[in-house]
Subunit: 192 residues, 2 copies
């Protein structure tokens, strides 16, 4: 997605070897006009799946999911919540996600009220690296008897194995920008 | 706001004496069509203030702010982040907020990159009760030299003193639904 790649080059910046910060337009300050273009792109790709729900994870996924839902006839958006410790809650589906950034597990939950048998769910998130968060969301949907009809990612680090991992769960992953390397602090995108 | 009050009566539920749960449509599962009506209502009230930025707080405020920003000519949305402990970060403005729900302080931060001298900021949040979170956001804007041009709240518990407290800081508060009491588990709205 050309305007997204241009925006990453203009306003993103790299910390260390491979941490891309996009807090100027995606996950601290949010550019809603850009999110609308992102929403249109997700709709163009997933529109034939009869999506009836969008699932994301707090906090960075929420704005992406809410704006995108407008293109899917305002389907409900559900955001899963993160907890520091696993703490069984009989009213929630829960899964464990390992964070490579923080080097520890955290728990992700969604109320059983919001995932149902027969749901056709699109999962959205800002980043895909190792794919552990996306896999956790897939697990939550499947615990509730729903079907995952795709994972939409704004920025994929394609030099990590997230896409392979999520695909191995039988889910199609579509990323709008795919970074294959950082060279001298500059993201290098996959050819499309 | 009539459709909001009707939705609270239909899908909200009360826990204990005065905890209103709106997780079916506002802060876990999100109804994006309703958020658009909420955004229009905030725009109708605050449109003459030359708002150039919307500030909210993770996680429940993000969808409200992102959808509402569309009515304000896609002004940038910034969401402040919550931290468990106060931990001075030279790149962030930081304030301390007391949570009556959790009976302890937490820290709220926003990067200095996103609040500037001359900013005309609209603050949005889902609930107003004691007003401590809204006051914290006002403090962050003022630390950065910005002007707060209003606080927009989806649901106010007007039997608590949040509006009085925020007004005492010189900021206009506009709430779309104002609950003056819970009687036998049913919210009773202020007359408009």
């Amino acid at each position: 997605m050309k305007i997204l790649e241009e925006r990453i080059l203009k306003d993103g910046y790299v910390l260390g070897k491979d941490i891309l910060k996009v807090d100027r337009f995606l996950n601290h300050q949010v550019d809603v006009a850009l999110l609308n273009e992102i929403g249109k792109a997700f709709y163009a790709y997933f529109k034939d799946h009869g999506i009836n729900k969008i699932l994301t994870i707090e906090a960075s996924g929420i704005a992406i999911a809410a704006i995108t839902a407008q293109y899917f006839d305002n389907v409900p958006v559900v955001f899963a919540k993160k907890f520091d410790s696993v703490n069984a809650d009989p009213d929630s589906y829960e899964t464990n996600v390992y964070s490579f950034t923080k080097n520890r597990d955290y728990s992700v939950r969604v109320s059983k009220k919001f995932i149902h048998q027969g749901d056709r769910v699109l999962i959205l998130d800002d980043f895909l690296a190792q794919g552990r968060a996306a896999a956790g969301l897939i697990d939550l949907v499947r615990q509730g008897g729903g079907e995952v009809h795709g994972v939409g990612i704004v920025i994929e680090k394609s030099f990590q194995d997230g896409k392979t991992y999520v695909s191995s769960l039988g889910v199609d992953v579509h990323s709008l920008a795919r970074i294959r390397a950082f060279i001298d602090g500059t993201p290098i995108f996959e050819e499309v």
